[in-house]
Symmetry: D2
Subunit: 346 residues, 4 copies
């Protein structure tokens, strides 16, 4: 921690700050500058609460150097974490993992058909929502427990592991019996009690970035899970909220190499929620792969609109099949590129 | 709902869209314009899911007119809601209600001293946190159940109703036995299961705006509670997340008159979390009052830093006392102003 | 400047960084911590360009302590600046200054009528736009030079100083002959050439905060003007761009006390552009006054819509008159409050 | 334009709104819904100013359907625009164009060496800044006219066209004599006078997206240039300002396919300014290419830090050379992928 004093801070004020630092059991080291004095705080083994110092007279600014996370940081744990979902390995050194399926499970037939389509196209994990967080209470909230059953049956039928979102602690036990990976949605990224309970489970978990979560908060949320003993955490970038409303959210792909430099946890991308518009999904999925994502989560519907009118442009089973073909193509390119240039630049 | 077609949309495409609208049981009314055709959708009694229409050929944009909330809207329910917390009335027609106390309950002595200070200064409700949502897991997480006991004792001792934050469903029953109002924090504003459970309780609830929640989402979250039967909801603006980092959050005071025009629920302001800096709290509290807030939530500590060094500038009991004096002064001015000009402008 | 090294940084890496610091003519002072080493940089007299250090091996983060502004900072120049516009004094120690008038000058009659209305209501400075920045080129762009003439005539007629926006350097000379204060709009806050030229003029200037400008950037823009010799700068908060679209911008009132703590320049508020909705203007104007603003800028139209239909709620001359009455009322309250409590809290 | 009335709007209020619409020379068509009435406005040939309608009694919301741009829209001009810079073609149907060089021109030697490096690596256009927009006035502001000379000599020497940023109208003539393309920086995206003057030049121009510009504002800024007769406009995404501070800006890659669907103008990406961190540049450059960018703008320095210490990770000439190799590799992959799957998905 660095305490920056006002230009006009008095010696007495500096002395008081040093005393306050000492009262926390830490050491204050003054760093005189050309224009002002700063006070380095030494001896802390983590984040320091600055409440007793922040408003002391003469204090201009307090700068924190330690991060609120440690277990998930690559700085302390350089080796990459590989998460195992069913028989699928997700993480550095393994091919990108694609999770696909409908946003909501609507019926046994629907999820079965979706499962067959994504399996045939080459997806590795089946996704489907039984509990749906919706902005307003007057819209479809998911099939609940019955949806979990339908998902379980469909996943077993096609031989894929399954992932589904959980929203409350009471759902955990049932969900664990029906799927192979739990998802924490963006709105629950800082539902700390849910994070802690899942941390005690030692079960693979997909943690989505909150709509307005900084990278530091994102990694700190993962730290909650890992701190309880569960290191099987996959991060998921799904777009952040910005002033731009032309897309549902703003997909922040630079977070992939950034998080990979800061943390040993794998990170995947959900281009469906990020863009909110079907025609943008495949292109952003391809870009995410090239940006180094360890996987993708893509919404695939068995196209109900086909009945209404021909030619609708959507990520149908067929569209997803084409995307998977492209992703495999790109993946081979990237492998070829890496060997041809002896490692990508930077 | 309004469906805007591309400039170059064909008649066949318009026909297909109209068909898709009809398949939803609604009526499509074409509105020919100078440059393009739009299609009005009639007959819906609420928000329409546009999934089957959004990507039809020729569709440029879909504009939703209906809001995802209705029960909390002033449009449908013009009369203001008054929320009763203990013997305190909060809402239009009643004087502003001030909730004050420490962020965290640290001990029986600390909350008792805080309770006496805020009571003496004229606060109406005692606040104190027993369950604390913290960005990282390595910091103080609150005293939990014991904190609730301490709060209960302190509130009874000074004769004030109490409010405390709940973070998970299991805490509701215990919390209801110890306090008079439940608080849902910003991070849980879209914890829809928690909202629903509290909706079933018919217990006063303070709902804080999420860090990046639009007014529409804020009101929709309140709709979740009211839809279950509990209309005793007080909204709370506590700053939103923006690009500006000089203050902890950006306090959005214009949301007060805006929400009051859209909804019949009362709304209060928390200047402490919004600014994150003590010297900004009193001035923003005064501004919030003048902006029409139905109340305030202010953090007051019994000043532990006093022991460390003299003269620290903070919202101590003394500082809060001065603020309450100013707020009463302002309130009288506002009453005088209203009668002198026969209602404030606009 | 503080250079934070990686947990695993080697001694050799620390040595290289120290060398790079020395190459800039500065002194590196290592600050060993419990988990990592940090390097304080001493001897700089202002902002240091970190380009040669940022990417050295072992460097985790660079933290700047010096601000990019100095002349406008209260830290170095504690005495408040008073800006004189015609015979009006604007700044600490003087009553709030209200600038009012139409967004655009449309005709001699219109600006004359507006001038009479705002003068009669008690405004201190007449505003009116001759050069209009518009999002698209197909909308009214202002009357230009003729508008300046109209404004000049109207201001002289009613005996008020005038302020108008300038958008390009060539307009400066003509504008200075017709008005008493130049305005730099939000979109030009970082039009550095315009800032420099105005800095050479020694003419009062109103600098609006950019849509996404941090307080640091806002003050740095003012620094451009003051650095050229012109300290007659008034800052203006006019709302920032956030994710919220229910209001045109988000009015950031906490910036008033914040800027007043950081800078000696006066700061006013424009609630018209900030909210974009007339019914919100008066309430936010009152809140701005209580938040300590040194003045206000309010749009007043001689109400063309009156002809169309009765009862429209807008800031007509009459509405502005009522607002001025309220502002005077509030101002007296604030004076009374200050003397009653011996200075407002904090 | 669609005018949404309050649930409780009276017939008289609807009639008044219809009258106000008629007064604008337009036609009002009521659209009765289940819960409220809406009024479609017909007959406008572009954006309608809603000032006289917005605040009429009973009006709840006004929704604009027409965009403030038309000339740059693909809706009206489906054929892609190809911009010719020297002998380089930039746009759909041509290979991605890479602009590279130093942020600032520091000396004749520096820009010459940079020019040779980027030419040898395969860049198509040389970039270099002579006029530099800097946040504060106390930092290097560029070499100005002399810098233009140096850039001109270097570009001629290596046989590349050159691009440089202009900040004020007076610089245009001189810049046009020295370079082949003008750049408008993010801070000047809404410097409408500069846009108009460049529009009159018929000279290739690179228009960077403003820090907080929506896609609609971005395209409207381009409309200013095209409306004056100059259609040689290349758009450039360079990151937007969000709450996230871990990267300098947030690179919004989804804007590439989005803009390509809305406009016929080419769009390129600047990963250097977007990320602000060298190790992120190559990976985001590769992702941008795959997202469909028509080109890239990359900062390349002849590595002054080499002298200070070995091993610095930066986009040196060598690093850029490797990146160009990768980009060519990827480009061939994309061509192969397109032919293998008969067009990329969506």
């Amino acid at each position: 921690m660095l305490i920056v004093m006002h230009h006009s801070a008095t010696e007495e004020q500096v002395r008081c700050v040093a005393q306050a630092v000492a009262a926390l059991g830490l050491t204050a080291q003054p760093i005189p500058g050309g224009q002002r004095i700063a006070i380095g705080v030494l001896g802390n083994r983590g984040y320091v609460d600055d409440a007793t110092i922040r408003d002391l007279p003469g204090v201009m600014e307090i700068i924190h150097v330690s991060k609120p996370y440690k277990l998930v940081s690559r700085d302390f744990h350089p080796a990459p974490t590989v998460v195992r979902v069913g028989s699928v390995n997700l993480g550095d050194g393994f091919p990108p993992v694609v999770m696909a399926g409908p946003c909501s499970i609507e019926s046994q037939e629907q999820i079965l058909e979706a499962a067959r389509q994504v399996k045939e196209a080459g997806a590795h994990i089946l996704r489907g929502g039984a509990f749906k967080p919706r902005t307003g209470p007057h819209t479809f909230q998911g099939l609940g427990a019955q949806g979990l059953e339908f998902l379980h049956v469909a996943a077993r039928e096609v031989g894929l592991p399954a992932v589904t979102e959980v929203m409350r602690i009471e759902q955990l036990e049932m969900a664990c019996r029906h799927v192979d990976m739990l998802q924490i949605g963006a709105r629950n990224m800082q539902n700390f009690d849910l994070l802690k309970e899942i941390g005690r489970l030692r079960f693979p978990v997909l943690l989505k970035r909150g709509l307005s979560a900084t990278v530091e908060e994102f990694l700190s949320a993962a730290e909650y899970i890992v701190a309880e003993g569960n290191d099987q955490v996959v991060l998921c970038e799904r777009g952040i909220r910005t002033f731009e409303t032309a897309t549902r959210n703003t997909l922040d792909l630079s977070v992939i190499p950034l998080v990979q430099s800061l943390s040993h946890l794998p990170i995947i991308v959900d281009p469906s929620h990020a863009t909110g518009r079907r025609f943008l999904v495949p292109v952003m999925a391809r870009a995410a792969l090239v940006a180094g994502a360890n996987g993708l989560m893509v919404e695939v519907h068995p196209a109900p609109e086909k009945a209404l009118c021909d030619g609708a442009q959507s990520l149908t089973g067929e569209g997803f099949c084409r995307l998977m073909h492209e992703l495999r193509f790109l993946q081979e390119c990237l492998a070829g590129m890496a060997s041809s240039v002896a490692g990508p630049s930077a």
